[in-house]
Symmetry: C2
Subunit: 370 residues, 2 copies
Amino acid sequence: MDIFTVTNNSSDTRARCGILQTTHGQVETPVFMPVGTRGSVKGILPEQLQQVSAQMVLANTYHLLLRPGPDVVEALGGLHRFMGWPGPILTDSGGYQVFSLSSLNRVGQDEVEFVSHIDGARIRLGPKSATETQNRLGADIIMAFDECVALPCEKQQLRDAVERTIRWAEQSLAAHRRSDQLMFGIVQGGTDKELRSYCCEELIKLNFPGYAIGGLSVGEGHDDLIATTDFTAALLPEDQPRYLMGVGTPRDLVKAIALGIDMFDCVMPTRNGRNACAFVSDGTIKLRNEKHKLDTGPLDEQCSCYTCRNFSRGYLRHLFLVNEMAGPILLSLHNLAFYHELISQARNAIKQDNYAPWAQKWEHYNVNQD
Amino acid sequence: MDIFTVTNNSSDTRARCGILQTTHGQVETPVFMPVGTRGSVKGILPEQLQQVSAQMVLANTYHLLLRPGPDVVEALGGLHRFMGWPGPILTDSGGYQVFSLSSLNRVGQDEVEFVSHIDGARIRLGPKSATETQNRLGADIIMAFDECVALPCEKQQLRDAVERTIRWAEQSLAAHRRSDQLMFGIVQGGTDKELRSYCCEELIKLNFPGYAIGGLSVGEGHDDLIATTDFTAALLPEDQPRYLMGVGTPRDLVKAIALGIDMFDCVMPTRNGRNACAFVSDGTIKLRNEKHKLDTGPLDEQCSCYTCRNFSRGYLRHLFLVNEMAGPILLSLHNLAFYHELISQARNAIKQDNYAPWAQKWEHYNVNQD
């Protein structure tokens, strides 16, 4: 059975709708995955994820490896039972966090040694152990172990990272032991077309069921993000899912969908929510701002989420000023509803073959106004 | 129309069931009110309060007076719309917090001057202003301004506080301006029978629609709490609601119901929940304990709350160890469900005239084991 079926193509962009089959159910693409780093989407319960129409969530292998460890997750019934989330889950490979969060000791041919950001323990991770960890966690989609570098970066360093990523992809596939989990490859190469192209070619030879574009949203800026996604997505197989990792703002998502991206994850809706920043129809607003003090209206008149149906901007501001937990909870809930509504509208626009005109209005969506 | 109707009396105790009528709906008594200090039950949304069958919530006048202020609550539609809670609300008078949280400057005949614990502002509060504040907040039940002293305490100090409480009760009633709000009087007097008796007599002359027993759970211990409740409750009118303020443990509640108490509020379920302490059938458990690490069972096999239906003790422990918000949220939710189930069982036992035998099994319920 094909794990991915394209159901609709847009005629004026490369956007498409599809169905992704996983062990824990099917997913309509394009899909946005909320991030449940340590086995919990911060402040949001699984029933609330269902309320906002989330289909699939992401959890971080690096964080779960450190605490509570794959043995504990396994003993507690695997990631789905552990988190109380019955739907599809994706785990990343740990590569991104190893290179961004930990103190790296050494990058070897088949392994990385790093110092845990929690307790200073020395831990080794490589394609074999990252895959074994993900097999034990039990997500529906797991990722090949990759090396992600911060940008800008010297070409030789980027080339070395790509070479390791390709070799590690092969080793990850070889280590993979569970047929109920799909393993995706990750294309690296920064903003360099030659390296992206080379990485795509080599990974496609390995016949992954899906491919991710990694190594973006790491300092390259919006234009390079979109240009690299444009170039790279076009090199990936039409009939397989394409996942743009760690992206992004509403405008990023809308543009990337037009380039043929099917899957996204990003902490932005929940992180911004915790910081009193709400996504609304005409941009982002900062709830701590004095101007919301007496505002009896909802965050967003257009939104039908629980937060917007029940609470005023003035009340939400009060919650943040007195540090009530309900503030971060209600704003994260709204922001997730906003992202899922955005993606749902994108799917509808593709189905109605109306994507380019629909996408246009998001061109000027600002994330730092108010 | 009577605001309170006793529907069932227990034949072997003084426990009773009743219906309390408020502007925002009727309440079955005995009732437990979760505490929403600053207009939010910490970590718990109104829809979750409904999930656990909460009927009525409490908010603190002192905290709302300081932030955001009654003018803001009023401008945002009053306390019910502000909080997004459509059911009955009770506000306390602020007396307890003025005497426990703030630096008191001066206790005068008609007013108290204190220094705000937030920003050091000098604020005056008395029966007139506390009542005006509560009129503006707009709860269904409001409380007369009282003086609450910590125990143990010299008799003369206690006597002075009772005299002021009686005088302030009369002044509170005189200042009360809204017929859609019920004002209850608060009996003070520590553990002193003479003073409690005197305070009851004087307050009953003022014809409040309901009476609270205040000044307990302030250091007197379980036996004195129960003995004073026993003595005082018997002096209050049979046909009016009796509210025991700030109490307590499951055992306290079960005993106080047997003495004819109809209403309770306490921070214990939510505060303990935030501190990883769960109420379960056979006592309290501390979730941080290593022994729960690999426990796949729910907090409480007997409980059907959202937390117990979906999450293991091992997962809940993990959430606390990594400081995920979901830990405090899920435990607070369970503890509130536990308290409401307890009260619901108490009502059923009264209706089946089986209260004394039912209550017996709670005699040995420990809150500090594990």
